[in-house]
Symmetry: C2
Subunit: 335 residues, 2 copies
Amino acid sequence: MVRVTLKDIANEAGVSMMTVSNVINGNRARVSPETIERVRRIVAERGYVPSASARSLAARSSRLIGLLVPAADEDSLTLSPHTGAILGQIERALRKRGYHLLLRGIAHPDEVGEALQSWSLDGAVLLGFLDEEVDALDVTVPVLAVDSYSRNRLATGVRSDDFEGGRIAAAHLLGLGHREILFAGPSFSDVGVVHQRFEGFRQAFADRGLSWSDSLIATVNTTHASGRELGLRLRADFPSATAVFATADILAIGVMAGLVETGVPVPGVVSVVGFDDLDLSAIVTPKLTTVAQDIPTKAAMAVDLLLAAVEKRDRPAEPVTLDVHLVERESTAPR
Amino acid sequence: MVRVTLKDIANEAGVSMMTVSNVINGNRARVSPETIERVRRIVAERGYVPSASARSLAARSSRLIGLLVPAADEDSLTLSPHTGAILGQIERALRKRGYHLLLRGIAHPDEVGEALQSWSLDGAVLLGFLDEEVDALDVTVPVLAVDSYSRNRLATGVRSDDFEGGRIAAAHLLGLGHREILFAGPSFSDVGVVHQRFEGFRQAFADRGLSWSDSLIATVNTTHASGRELGLRLRADFPSATAVFATADILAIGVMAGLVETGVPVPGVVSVVGFDDLDLSAIVTPKLTTVAQDIPTKAAMAVDLLLAAVEKRDRPAEPVTLDVHLVERESTAPR
DNA sequence: CTGAAAGCGCTTACAG
DNA sequence: CTGAAAGCGCTTACAG
């Protein structure tokens, strides 16, 4: 099986390779309509597919975008439900614009540069990296970090309005009469997203002239398992808490599971609010009240901003912040 | 920013490009230890990263594997929880073996060939295609279809023991005293996986010398929403049914939701068994009894078989079938 | 153990 | 509107 090449098409059409190239790349102004027609027909007949590697070697552009996701050394990709949801959307947006997607797990930050260079990627979307990792990035092509608050000028961020999300979550619970509200999430010295949600959370107290006891913080991983553990020991460790704001749905769902296991009804005794609005969150019992992010828009925006930078051969534009809203379901009740 | 090339390294090391190439590709036998050492050092110092497109143009191999997933025209990828789980594992297995992954949504079957040719992919994993689509495939590089029973010699299949899975699901329900068991799944004229599960399901009845009324089939999509709809109308449409075997967990969970919404307790009045053992299935209420597939092994096996074929420049080996087992949780009870 | 030459399949200026 | 030449950064035989 030998490959059909530009030269084959050119020979058969009786024109130069250049002309075929122009037809294929849609430089219509440079070729006569009849030639275009003839070349098109032969391309279709012969089933010619241009070689992307030859093209990317000769041109400056590969039309390949990396989707880079952290991958602990021995582990598979961190494909949380949230990551999975955004991934599918990104592939689609890219495909519609004629780009291909290289999916790559990153075990060590240095691999980012290697991944970019190796395939001459035109750009990359970073999904799930810590701000400090994004800060340290030194890249030569446009890069876009999802859910990042990094100040690195080489990587634009796209994220939801995490501050506002934290604020409305707390405001909702405060409105229901709760005052002792536990903030549960990963350590946020290094995760801007969580930090923002925390600041918004506190703002809601301030807005009401209330103070919030900072002993009501639980530092946990963003997993169902560690949420469950927290739920199991909640009454022991935080006896005064009547409500929990968890920084991710999967975590909130774990907390509910742990609570219920120890006989604490949700929302009867403890109310729980999450963040994300996963599909899952409307399925569990009780259905989770949560701060909804617009994931399709986030993915579309990420691709738009990144490709704008790629196509202008420019650095990415300003960061973008997307609206969030509260979805009230069954996991919260008046105190 | 100009790229560091083979030639730069060769010049600096005072050797030919060929020698550098040999060092980089680990042809150690062809270069003296001192030269290797010197070249290695310079490569590290200069941060040289080989150009994958140049390499794949010159060599026969791109070390790029496609992960092809159906994508309805207007939709994003069909990234079900099951697909998402397997995807992360595949990326990891490939990365460990020095391959890169191109993720591509396929809107029309013809795009498979185009995707393979465009980037000179060394091979591809097909995830979630119908058997009839795999049947029609005419490819020139090794291809591996996950969950396929296609007879296409050009595409090897890897799947769980779906027949056995259907059998143990039904045997479990029969053992609990159920006799009127609904089979709920997608139309299986074209999906071998579902067909196999159905045959196993019936086998369990035959094993006990029982007959099964084939009016107890519900054809539904594999989504939570259509499961819920089935749950809502279950008592009306199938009044005799005391148990449901759904061919996917996400579907089973939807059925439970619909049932509970109409006041039918699970497993009090109706028992439900799923298939997959998603993370989700241990989280929902009641926790789902299901047939567990070994997804990490399925992914690893897919990659192993595919790369064996790629590296031998051969067609894929024989199809592989993986064991399944029943995970008893809370959604089933004696009749 | 090491190297000079040809070539992979395209695109990019530059001419006409 | 069309083309001949050079070159992108590698690897593959083939020599020595």
